[in-house]
Amino acid sequence: MNAHASNYNFAYLDEQTKRMIRRAILKAIAVPGYQVPFASREMPMPYGWGTGGVQVTASILGPDDVLKVIDQGADDTTNAVSIRKFFQKVAGVETTTSTEDATIIQTRHRIPEAPLQEGQVLVYQVPIPEPLRFLEPRETETRKMHALEEYGLMHVKLYEDIAKNGHIATTYAYPVKVEGRYVMDPSPTPKFDNPKMHMSPALQLFGAGREKRIYAVPPHTEVISLDFEDHPFEVQRFDKPCALCGAEQVYLDEVVLDDRGGRMFVCSDTHHCESRQAAGHRGEMSGEALS
């Protein structure tokens, strides 16, 4: 264990708070997909910046853990850098950008492309944990709906999408059903990532700080995206492979190259892209000059 800022307890939170959060996590694991209320603390970063994920990570982090933090799939987006630095400072843990080497991965908006392994924990930052929130703004109502497994409203919403547009018009935060019971918000990851949650060998924890909720998907748990028999769930497809590493079947970011409509598509998962390039894979624009 490296030296960490000694003015603060290991990983910032005091042990009592960590115990409280761990109890909530254990309950969440015991009831997959159920949102467990917890007494979220004020963290030294703003609400909306990942305070829920940070509290979950702080509570499960041990001195031997190796931490990876991503935002939009990338290790070097400013907020990922900032959260990684925070844990380096207050916990002194080893950090990595490698998906394979990490024991805990905190993420905002993506699931890494490389399949997760047993023993790894994926911590999601969640803005609005309630999948029914935009159909019913009242917490008292939505909790009742979950308790009674009353998800008709959600199916009607999806049906209306199809009736109006011919397909379901939800592209991220696409609702899933966990182990045949709770409808859950997968956090605003693109629906492209939904299938990765299904039967994952890794533990998936979700922290919503401002809304004071924690929920979980234990390893090897069924996570099914809601759909209809005649309108099965589909993920996004891209016409081109990654311009840098040639990867297909991955999620791509669109990069605007010039003011004449020039675009390129590159892997959103920066570590995945870099390791492929290191392994000799090339895309159509790797090594080309940008003008």
């Binding site: 603060y8 910032y12 005091d14 209320p37 917890f38 007494a39 979220s40 603390r41 004020e42 963290m43 030294p44 703003p46 609400y47 909306g48 910046w49 939009q72 799939g73 990338a74 070097d76 987006t77 400013t78 907020n79 990922a80 850098v81 900032s82 630095k85 908006h109 993506r110 803005p127 009242r138 917490e139 008292t140 547009n165 011919g166 018009a169 592209t171 991220y172 605003p188 990851t189 693109p190 492209f192 401002r210 004071k212 909720r213 996004q236 311009a243 840098l244 999620y251 791509l252 970011d253 669109e254 990069v255 590159v266 959103s268 920066t270 892209c273 870099e274 790797s286 080309e288 000059a289």
Partner: protein, 369 residues
């Protein structure tokens, strides 16, 4: 050549460096001292203490300095700091009837025991810019009262003598008060927890909601029973000693709003109350809080729920400015993964739309031919 954007770390460091530079401003101008802030910007300091939920003027002043005068940012700094403090217990209820008052006004009675004390108020100042304050003019000290002071009786107690107002209510001494820091938000919230939330709620938000009740959204016919500002003793019960001992004094502003009430199935006709209590001198906040508190008691008093200020979930979920500013401002964080997903969807829908309209144009043309 395009490379994935590296250098977030350097960018952050440079941003912090520039922020520190801008905060300090022109180096030939003397730096603000914390004493200057606590002494001369005291109402701002009090707001940071009350909405930061931490009674410490020096830390509030430090936060204001660090936040470049952005009070919500300062409140956030104080809140983040208070999270790290151990919680060792709770005080006995403070006795505001025994307050050492600096100001106390009632709109209900022309004169009353303890009198009307204007205190340090802006109320009757003419809002004319005082150019003398560009410098440091000599200022007289305040006048000190010398006559024997009669107790400053609470207006609620005066009304209570006739039984015309609801009483203070009864609290089971064994009841542990709730704590919004230690318990997850769940609705409906007890009045004690609601008052805690309101007391640290955003002044502007509560002001606007309270104002809306005056304009007819859940009208509550309010009179200021009294507003008082002063110092109260804070006592903590010591189990080792078997009695409560004072641990210090805090300055608070208390507002008792008296509201006309025609009675309902649940309560007789009487005056009801809305309550506001905040740290420091924060009269606007205490008054707004008491209007909101009264509106939130609609269900308890059997009133119809007709407007937002009566709605617990609406008011209490949105009154915290640290939460609100965080969630609103987080929109500037990268969202390009989700935006990409939406781009894809809009492109598909647009193509379908153009195909449909194209076909429709073709059909009308064919029909015309």
């Amino acid at each position: 050549m395009y490379v994935a954007v590296k250098g977030g770390e350097v960018a952050i460091d440079n941003a912090h460096r520039l922020l520190a530079d801008r905060r300090r401003g022109d180096r030939s101008v003397p730096a603000l001292t914390l004493d200057q802030i606590t002494e001369q910007l005291s109402i701002g300091v009090d707001r940071v203490m009350s909405e930061g939920s931490l009674y410490d003027r020096r830390l509030a002043a430090l936060a204001i300095k660090q936040a470049r005068g952005d009070l919500i940012e300062a409140i956030f700094l104080v809140r983040a700091y208070r999270t790290t403090l151990p919680r060792f217990g709770h005080s006995e209820p403070v006795d505001t009837g025994a307050m050492l008052v600096e100001r106390r006004v009632s709109a209900c009675y022309k004169d009353l025991p303890g009198g009307q004390l204007l205190g340090p108020t802006f109320d009757y100042t003419h809002r004319l810019l005082d150019e003398e304050l560009e410098g440091d003019p000599q200022i007289e000290t305040g006048a000190q009262r010398t006559d024997a002071q009669e107790p400053v009786m609470r207006v609620a107690d005066i009304l209570d003598q006739e039984g015309l107002i609801e009483d203070d209510g009864f609290i089971d001494p064994a009841l542990e008060p709730g704590d919004i820091n230690q318990t997850p938000t769940e609705f409906p919230m007890s009045r004690a927890m609601r008052l805690q939330s309101l007391s640290r709620g955003d002044e502007g938000f509560l002001l606007a909601l309270g104002y809306s009740t005056q304009r007819g959204y859940a009208r509550s016919h309010p009179f200021v029973g009294e507003v008082r500002i002063g110092e109260v003793d804070v006592e903590v019960f010591m189990p080792e000693l078997g009695f409560a001992v004072p641990v210090g004094r805090v300055q608070v502003t208390e507002c008792q709003m008296v509201n006309q009430f025609k009675g309902s199935a649940k309560a007789p006709p009487q005056f009801t109350r809305g309550y506001g209590l905040v740290f420091g001198q924060s009269e606007r906040k205490a008054m707004a809080m008491s209007l909101c508190d009264r509106a939130l008691r609609a269900e308890e008093l059997g009133e119809d729920l007709v407007a937002a200020p009566q709605d617990q979930e609406f008011v209490l979920s949105h009154c915290d400015n640290v939460q609100a500013t965080g969630f609103v401002e987080h929109l500037k964080l990268p969202h390009y993964v989700d935006f990409q997903a939406e781009l894809g969807l809009v492109r598909t829908m647009r193509a379908e739309y153009e195909q449909r309209t194209g076909e429709a144009v073709l059909e009308t043309r064919e029909a015309a031919e």
